[in-house]
Amino acid sequence: MALVLQALPVLAVWMWTRRMTALSAGTRLAAALGIGLGMGSTLLFLWRLGGGSTATFAVVDPALWVVAILAALALASASTIADTDQPRRGTRHPWRVLLLILGLSLAGVAGAIVWTRSAGMPYGDWDAWAIWNLHARFLADPSLLWLNAFAPDLAWSHPDYPLLLPGAVARAWVFDPQAGATVPFSIAAALLLATMLVMVSTLHEHRGASGALLALSLLLAPQFVQIAASQCADLPLGFFTVLAVALLGATHPSAATLGLAGVAMGMAAWTKNEGLVVAVLLPCLYVWRVYRRVGFSAAHQTATDIVVGLYPMLVVLALFKIFVAPENDLVSGMLRPGVLNYWSDPVRVSFVAREMLTEGLAWGGWPVMGPVLLIPIVALVRTGPTQRVSDAATSAAALLVAQLAIFFVIYVMTPHSVAWHLQTSWHRLIAQMWPTAVWWACVRRSPALEGRGAACA
């Protein structure tokens, strides 16, 4: 019964997206998994912020999701959320069976790694129980003392971090208090599956069976799988980022698809502070591309469609930041007088650049070099005569470059020990960008992608 209750928001999102026929079933399922978890988390946060108890939440939450599902059923024929374009289907490939076997083998081994990692570390990595699941414990507590999570005594637990992941875990604990560590493990596994699903299904649409297999180069980096199993928020953020990019990259994305991409961007911001970069920059970059290629009218409409999905999540984040969260240690540290002098320290700046580069190239869990080096190879292989870089692929590349630049600035200006900060976080930041980097590499020379307004370009 608890499992059914936990799946209700996923089912609701699945039902509400079923008219988006331009999206494949795999993309829809991935979106439903991630956004459903995120919406359930959001509802719990808003309920608790409004003074509601978990006892009443356990009644109201299922009722609301059942209403949402029934509403989706009642509006089954509504044209306002319908896409008219059919998805591009991959052509049957002679190597299809071999590719399928390889893909399933990869997914199976990745699943086994997640399982063994979780068996060895049932409570996840240090950050999982000291930050994310700790916050979930407070949110799920039946008393009204959940705001204790943001007390000054707990500053070490980064109480300013957004609550998507803790809320999703806490929601499950509200329905099944005895579930314990199986919940964060299950959510981590579900989001890894969702990440693979969205990449496989969207790349299958653009490049056929071999594109789907290329998507599994996500698993070229065993370190990514380990970070996914760590129960931290880096995988969820990577998932929402690549989901947003992939939705923007849909063939002739409709208003509903762009709105869903906006929701995914908002969910990224509700997952981690770094997600705010995605929520702000990605829509700007994409709209700019549409403006440059098609013109103001299409860009304006695109921006409106994205904001419809993005805005509510930014409001939730603003409520959290204004009424609940203390100030961020990095932001307050970087606003101290004299921090700008760090830029005049060539040793510090070059140390950050060197460490980011060397660790970045070695990242991935390979014994010699890192799989990051394969990204340009995959990206440069010609796949057909009519290739065109899409708005989404270009926006994704620009986003990745901007993220790298922002992370570099933060590391140089960090109030913490630079070496410690890099050592404890850089590998996880790469993991956040990894799905989008792989998606970009696989899709940038695809012949299929066009963006909003392509028909009138």
Binding site: W95, G103, F138, S210, Q226, G364
Partner: protein
């Protein structure tokens, strides 16, 4: 064909890379052990209480991990380093009875010892 060969090559490399990680990977049962050691101590502490924590771990990292795990275990109670504000004190597992004589615990009474040796003290009224 070139696309399929590229995909197959990448997939094979991924498979080889992943297979190398199937040897069990990282193992850390510390949270499992420490959380189990606290037993039912939390049942004796009101949800609104502030709790100080005493670790007997030798290394600073282990002591920090224990304190953070105590916070995980005791939520929504707050684990504080501000002893005057604490109405309870919890120790790590395996705490020796001699700890009862610690000067910091003069204002506290021992009220519970878990099977794993975690000791719980309550401030005298």
């Amino acid at each position: 064909m070139r696309d399929a060969m590229l995909a197959a090559g990448v997939a094979l490399m991924s498979l080889i890379a992943l297979l190398g990680q199937l040897d069990g990977g990282l193992q850390d049962r510390t949270p499992h052990v420490v959380l189990a050691a606290f037993g039912s101590a939390a049942d004796r502490i009101p949800p609104s209480a502030s709790v100080a924590y005493v670790s007997i771990a030798a290394d600073p990292t282990g002591a920090t991990a224990e304190r953070f795990l105590a916070q995980y275990y005791l939520a929504p109670r707050i684990v504080t380093e501000n002893w005057p504000a604490a109405s309870f004190v919890l120790t790590g597992p395996g705490a020796p009875p001699v700890l009862d004589g610690d000067p910091r615990l003069r204002a506290f009474d021992l009220i519970h010892v878990t099977p794993a040796g975690a000791r719980l003290y309550r401030r005298r009224p």
